[in-house]
């Protein structure tokens, strides 16, 4: 098992945001700033790591026909654990990400990866895959967050460096999210050739 390849795969070849196009809802909603995008990516990665490992561990005692409900219970449990931890120790992130923390449960990436990888590989490999895909997702979100923050608020990670008058408000609003992602995907497509 070439673990380095698995990680590279998650970041580039199977990048959830730009290639697989999974997890679009949080991608568009939580990238109003670089920090929000980064936090969401890391939160999702945390859940992905835990669920991948646990599902890989119980894959042999899970009857085939009931595997989806079992996976969902495991994923929902870890998301709730994450929710509690964030509410208790990181309230600012709780405020910034809001509804999208419990929505990690329905993030297609997590169930998708459980089905496609964790259910068929060893716990260690699943852990590494979780890291790879998680990093890919975080990278996508942070990149989108940076572009939207720079164009829309003239800042990067909160550090303002463009004066108010030159900010294009559109980019921190809903349409801006769609448009920015669209163009980023176009750029990625061009680079892939």
């Amino acid at each position: 098992m070439n673990y380095l390849n698995i990680i590279k795969n998650g970041i580039i070849k199977d990048n959830p945001t730009f290639v697989l196009m999974l997890g679009m809802c949080p991608t568009l909603a939580t990238t109003t700033s670089a920090l929000n995008g980064l936090s969401m990516g890391l939160a999702t990665m945390t859940v992905l790591l835990c669920t991948n490992v646990v599902i890989s561990c119980i894959k042999n005692i899970t009857p085939d026909k009931v595997r989806i409900p079992v996976f969902i219970v495991v994923i929902a449990a870890f998301v709730t654990l994450l929710q509690m931890a964030i509410k208790a120790y990181l309230p600012d992130i709780d405020k910034a990400l809001g509804l999208f923390i419990p929505l990690i449960v329905v993030n297609c990436i997590i169930l998708g990866r459980a089905e496609a990888f964790a259910a068929k590989n060893t716990p260690l490999a699943s852990l590494v895959d979780g890291i790879g895909i998680g990093l890919g997702f975080t990278l996508g979100l942070t990149l989108l967050g940076i572009v939207r923050e720079v164009l829309g608020s003239g800042a990067i990670f909160g550090w303002v460096f463009i004066p108010d008058n030159y900010n294009i408000l559109l980019f921190v609003l809903a349409p801006g999210a769609f448009i920015t992602l669209g163009y980023l995907i176009a750029i990625v497509n061009k680079l892939k050739k």
Binding site: M24, L103, V105, V106, A174, P175, I179, I185
Partner: protein, 200 residues
């Protein structure tokens, strides 16, 4: 009276897909043809209203009295998953054609963030049962509207010449952005309506 406000607001002003970013995956995935879009919207509408009803009842009469609010996420998603299973079975019997057309998208309603999102939102906004159901129904219509309008645009897009680099998801997303921009034109309508109706 207030219900009309919720209705208009959920469909136009705060459209679930174009403003709140819930339900993007099916929005981008199913909107290639107007027919499938409408079928999907109806399935989602049915699941959404039913799910909101059941989850609201469970939250109010089971989770809160028993101090088990932290089980909300697990319980809600299990309710939704079961409902989708039921809809699948019913649809298979009643309308095999629609069942075939929707294909893989039906089980995907489970992971439709809009359904879980609405279930959680009505609890967060502390709505009563009536308001929650109206909100769920209106949101589903808003979802259907966005989906169908977008499908119409995409069918037209198929016939146009798009630069190579923008083909595929890229142009779809930019188009969605423009549609979202158009819907922003509705903002403030609910404030005006409120004044008109004399509700504060």
């Amino acid at each position: 009276m207030e219900y009309i406000l919720i209705f208009i607001s959920a469909i136009f002003v705060n459209n679930i897909v174009l403003a709140q970013f819930l339900g993007i995956c099916p929005f981008l995935g199913v909107s290639k043809k107007i027919g499938t879009s409408m079928g999907m919207s109806m399935a989602v509408a049915f699941v959404m209203v039913l799910a909101t009803l059941v989850t609201w009842l469970v939250q109010t009469f089971v989770l809160v009295p028993a101090n088990l609010e932290y089980l909300q996420t697990i319980v809600f998603i299990l309710v939704i998953a079961s409902l989708v299973q039921m809809v699948e079975i019913i649809l298979k019997k009643l309308s095999p054609i629609l069942y075939q057309a929707l294909g893989i998208f039906l089980p995907l309603i489970t992971t439709n963030c809009a359904v879980l999102g609405v279930a959680i939102l009505v609890i967060q906004k502390e709505m009563n049962l009536g308001q929650s159901l109206v909100y769920a129904f209106s949101t589903a219509i808003g979802f259907g509207l966005a989906l169908t309008v977008f499908a119409g645009i995409r069918e037209q897009l198929e016939l146009t010449n798009i630069p190579k680099g923008m083909r595929g998801m890229a142009i779809v997303l930019v188009t969605a952005g423009l549609l979202s921009l158009a819907f922003m034109g509705f903002s403030g309508v609910d404030v005006g309506l409120r004044k008109l109706m004399g509700i504060e």
